[in-house]
């Protein structure tokens, strides 16, 4: 068989997906524990051996082999800007869209303490923004100077005021730092421009980070480690929304990826107000948007989810007694590989995942607030209005492998009891049944039309589970 192998070097598992370009179909997927700390090739070989077992073939030849990676702690980034709600927020959005794990962000002039803290965080890349084009120069120049004086030697992506590009380049080059200058993330107050920074971060990832993380040991076998895994998922989402070649896209879309450590939400949509009497405020939102909830992993943070929604709600949802829930979740948080066994445990696991989806989508979506003014009622929207989104897709191990994935995914839907969150109202629901979203993002680099074709085959439509459940009003 002539196969294309798509690989994800994850922190816990190395996953492989084989597809046949010739036949235009998905073939199989397999995984094995990652071995990033010793030699990534061991985990990869094990995963490929598992794939061989599944297919029952001794010799598999792969015509193409490409990979993405979120291993070795992910792509650790720090975002720096001027005003918290403006260039800092724009820089954060750019970093998240590039698939980064945002480990910190700083506003205004960096202080001695900021710098100390920043070094201790051990970032892989620093994204430096500040000032609109032709706007403030003082702060970004100051920040460039103090960053250049650090011993820390990590790539710095500059996406700030165009007027001082060259001066900033000189500051970093003189100090012997790896600096890349790209377009401003916020060229004007009302215009976000994060795509160039996203591309630039990806280049740095391929050139520098893959080596720094030791993942390039796989280079002899793999043609290229093309991007961080979340970037691959975002690209697959964009492809599915927009289509390619003969394959039509699905239109405006939301993807939620439930994981043991984080729950990520991706949307590709304008998010403009769906009603006429609404004033849109706040920083513009990117058409493609990723958010990461580091406190909503269903294993590492299961106790945090319990504290957020309240143990009584989980008890109501799962039918498990409060004290049993507490002891079970303490165990799961310590032994994150634990899989639920009894029926009650399965219920509890699904309740956790549903709550994680609910809160993650709430945080991702825009809000509608009512104000009373001398002219009467006024509605103000912040963020993206997702109410008219056509399709919601669920992915991630805890969701895809669950007994009732629809129940979990329904957490993403609009809640009439909590109407200020603009979550999707009547979308079609789909499950990524073979868990191949990352692979599609990689395949899109080689053959986008085939990639969307395979993804459409993989998606299983499920009927929406209208849970009339007042108790699901999880807090933010």
């Amino acid at each position: 068989m002539d196969l294309t192998l798509l690989i994800d070097f994850g922190s816990t598992y190395t996953k492989v997906t084989a597809i046949s370009e010739q036949k235009g179909c998905f073939v199989a997927t397999a995984k094995a524990p990652s071995t990033v700390n010793s030699d990534v090739m061991i985990g990869l070989s094990n995963a490929i051996n598992n794939l061989k077992d599944i297919l029952g073939e001794e010799n598999l030849s792969f015509r193409r082999r490409v990979a993405c990676s979120s291993a070795a702690g992910g792509l650790r980034m720090i975002a720096i800007g001027l005003v918290p709600t403006l260039t800092v927020e724009a820089a954060r959005k750019a970093a998240l869209n590039a698939g980064a794990k945002l480990i910190g962000s700083y506003a205004f002039k960096l202080t001695e303490e900021d710098l100390k803290e920043l070094c201790m965080q051990k970032p892989d890349i620093i994204l430096l923004a500040g000032g609109t084009d032709g706007g403030d120069e003082e702060v970004i120049l100051h920040n460039a100077k103090v960053l250049a004086s650090l011993e820390l030697n990590v790539p710095i992506v500059v996406a700030g005021n165009r007027a001082c590009k060259e001066r900033i380049r000189q500051i970093f080059i003189t100090a012997g730092k790896d600096v890349r200058i790209t377009e401003n993330v916020l060229p004007e107050i009302n215009r976000l421009n994060i795509q160039p920074a996203r591309e630039c971060i990806r280049e740095v990832f391929i050139e520098r980070i893959v080596h720094a993380k030791g993942i390039d040991k796989a280079k002899e076998f793999v043609e290229g480690i093309l991007m961080p895994t979340p970037e691959a998922v975002l690209r697959a989402t964009e492809l599915l929304a927009e289509g390619a070649g003969e394959e039509t896209g699905m239109g405006e879309i939301l993807v939620v990826d439930v994981g043991g450590a984080t729950t990520d939400v991706y949307t590709v949509c304008s998010g403009n107000p769906t009603r006429g009497d609404v004033i849109l405020k706040g920083l513009p939102e990117p058409y493609s948007k990723r958010t990461v909830e580091g406190d909503l992993g269903v294993r590492f943070n299961c106790l945090h989810i319990m504290e957020t929604v309240g143990v009584s709600l989980l008890s109501e949802m799962s039918g498990m007694k409060v004290d049993v829930i507490e002891s079970t979740l303490s165990l799961w948080a310590r032994k994150t590989y634990m899989v639920p066994k009894s029926e009650l445990e399965i219920n509890l696991d699904q309740a956790l995942a549903r709550c994680a989806v609910d809160i993650a989508v709430k945080r991702h979506s825009g809000t509608l607030e009512k104000y009373y003014t001398p002219m009467g009622e006024v509605f103000v929207q912040y963020g993206k209005d997702l109410t008219s989104i056509k399709a919601v897709v669920g992915t991630g191990g805890p969701l895809v492998n669950a007994q009732n994935p629809t129940y979990i995914l329904s957490g993403a839907l609009f809640d009439e009891h909590d109407p200020s969150y603009l979550k999707p109202k009547n979308p079609k629901l789909y499950i990524d049944k073979n868990y191949i979203f990352y692979a599609i993002g990689l395949l899109a680099e080689i053959n986008p039309e085939l990639a969307i074709h395979i993804l459409k085959q993989d998606l299983k439509q499920v009927s929406c589970e209208k849970m009339v459940d007042r108790s699901l009003m999880c807090r933010r």
């Binding site: 000032g131 032709g134 001398p374 006024v378």
Partner: protein, 140 residues
């Protein structure tokens, strides 16, 4: 680049958008770099935008009569944010009812505004103020 930057918007829970658009158009035509925040702006919106764009002037509009309450403290916030060189303009229908214009003007000047306009102030008047205060050459 010698273009001067004006941050403008309608303050408070005020949704009068027409005058805002007219002033934006006039100032752009006169060669200014205009950052229009639109309606429903808080004091922080003005301060943040001015900081990020290195603005020369903040131009605040208020049409619904609550200008006094909405504008109080803006100058102080600017000073805190290091915007001590930024000129503050305010104009519109600033107070409720028919009050003596000189009193109204004095009240807003005391709040730290450099220029105070009434409901009869025309875009050309604003441009003239800007020319005087920024001693800049108009593009056209």
């Amino acid at each position: 680049m010698n273009q001067k930057t004006i941050v403008m918007g309608v303050i408070g829970a005020d949704i009068h958008v027409v005058g805002n658009k007219i002033i934006e158009y006039a100032l752009r035509e006169a060669g200014f770099n205009v950052v229009n925040l639109g309606i429903f702006c808080s004091q922080e919106d003005f301060v943040n935008a001015a900081k990020e764009t290195n603005a020369d002037v903040i131009l605040v509009s208020s049409l619904y009569g609550h200008g006094e309450l909405d504008c109080k403290g803006l100058k102080e916030k600017c000073l805190e944010a290091g915007l001590n060189k930024v000129k503050l303009y305010v104009g519109g229908n600033l107070v409720v009812g028919k009050q003596n214009w000189e009193d109204v003007k004095a009240k807003f000047e005391a709040m730290g505004f450099d220029r105070v306009g009434s409901e009869t102030t025309m875009p050309d008047d604003i441009i003239k103020w800007l020319q005087e205060d920024l001693s800049c050459i108009i593009a056209k």
